[in-house]
């Protein structure tokens, strides 16, 4: 669990917590295509994976575009509203 920002410190980058439910994922690649920060990647075999979680800007595109209810994104330690 990351520490919560105190008021005195400069605003820290919000850290994303991405979850990919591999059982539900069908590797359609829609999340990969619609992620503006290129957080998600697709292997040569077609398998979708979380490539670079740190780059996530918490836009939520992957979650709302996923047709398989397979991805959730939320702020680490925060509530589910982003």
């Amino acid at each position: 669990m990351p520490k919560k920002n105190s008021r005195s410190s400069p605003p820290k980058k919000r850290i994303a917590e991405l979850k990919l439910n591999e059982e539900r994922c069908k590797d359609c690649g829609i999340c990969v295509a619609f992620c503006p920060a290129k957080v998600l990647g697709q292997k040569e075999t077609g398998e979708v994976y979380i490539k670079d979680e740190e780059k996530c800007t918490l836009c939520g595109n992957c979650e709302i575009y996923c047709p398989d209810f397979a991805i959730t994104v939320k702020e680490a330690g925060g509530n589910d509203e982003i």
Binding site: E23, R24, C28, I64, Y65, P67, E81
Partner: protein, 304 residues
């Protein structure tokens, strides 16, 4: 943005049967988020569906659900709403389900202005049965039953709905789930018959046959062609469908266009007030009851 509420899904039924990249899942997720956003309780929501790929949605949603016969989702929903007026009823149908097999139920539900929220997932094809053309397959597009392209012109669902008497009509697409969510929220807040056309993608039965590329390509194409109605109103010249322009060009070249180039107007297409059916029905029923009771009382007084 609020996360999708897992308790609204029957998670033991997942993964669902829809093909990889199918837009039905995006639309269903938007519906679930919209219900969460409005704040309806699980027990107050009913999802009714017919037959087809899109109608499988009811099976994955953890509300009161009815998976009914082909085209008859609105008929079942009408009965349900009249028996339980407190329920918020969402009717998920496909394009063929709603406008071909259930075409009559659709226009008469609109005529009654009964408080139902019809979500029509329009993927332009009968996907489940192998890609036959539906009343919403755009003219010239290929299907198993129209190998050279369908000769029939497609319905405009929302124009049909408005002329039949619906009071809220909106068009969203699977390529803009945030907008779609907003439109479904708008539909659920409208007291009367609401129609949301959710333009979706069928990469397997429709896309492949019409060479529209992958699921991602199809979504990007829809997104590119979508223009909000507000923008269209301000820019009158763009209201002319691009297809006309494309066809003019094609005629000159003597070939038909392969790519869909028509503008998709998205947003709230119409919204107008009108008396709602269930409320009027119960008002009439109560009046009748009161009238009878009053009569009986009078008769009783005369006898005594």
């Amino acid at each position: 943005m609020k996360s999708l509420r897992e308790e609204f899904l029957r998670t033991n039924k997942l993964p669902h049967i829809w093909c990889p990249g199918c837009g039905n899942g995006i639309v269903t997720a938007a519906l679930v988020r919209a219900i969460g956003k409005v704040g309806f309780e699980q027990k107050d929501v009913a999802v009714v569906s017919g037959i087809g790929c899109s109608s499988r949605a009811a099976g994955y949603l953890n509300f009161n659900t009815l998976h009914t016969t082909h085209g008859r989702a609105l008929a079942f929903a009408t009965g349900l709403k009249l028996a339980q007026p407190g329920l918020k009823v969402f009717v998920v149908m496909g394009d063929g389900d709603a406008t071909a097999i259930g075409g009559n139920h659709f226009i008469h539900a609109a005529r009654r202005n009964i408080d139902l929220n019809a979500i029509i997932i329009n993927n332009h094809i009968y996907g489940m049965t192998g890609g036959q053309h539906s009343p919403l397959t755009p003219e010239g597009k290929k299907a198993t039953t129209a190998p050279e392209g369908t000769l029939e012109r497609e319905f405009n669902i929302l124009e049909l709905a408005v002329s039949a008497g619906a009071t809220y009509g909106a068009r969203g697409t699977a390529a803009q789930p945030r907008l779609l969510e907003k439109l479904i929220v708008g539909a659920s807040q409208n007291e009367g018959f609401s129609v949301v056309e959710a333009m979706s993608t069928c990469p397997v039965s429709y896309g492949r046959r019409n060479r529209l590329g992958s699921a991602v390509d199809m979504l990007k194409d829809i997104k590119q062609r979508s223009v909000s109605v507000e923008k269209l109103e301000t820019k009158a010249e763009t209201t002319r469908p691009r297809r006309d322009i494309a066809e003019e060009g094609a005629e000159e070249e003597g070939e038909t266009h392969d790519k869909q180039e028509e503008v998709i107007p998205v947003g709230v297409i119409f919204s107008r007030p009108a008396p709602e059916f269930v409320e009027r029905y119960y008002r009439g029923l109560n009046k009748e009851k009161e009238g009878k009771e009053g009569k009986e009382e009078k008769e009783g007084q005369v006898e005594s």
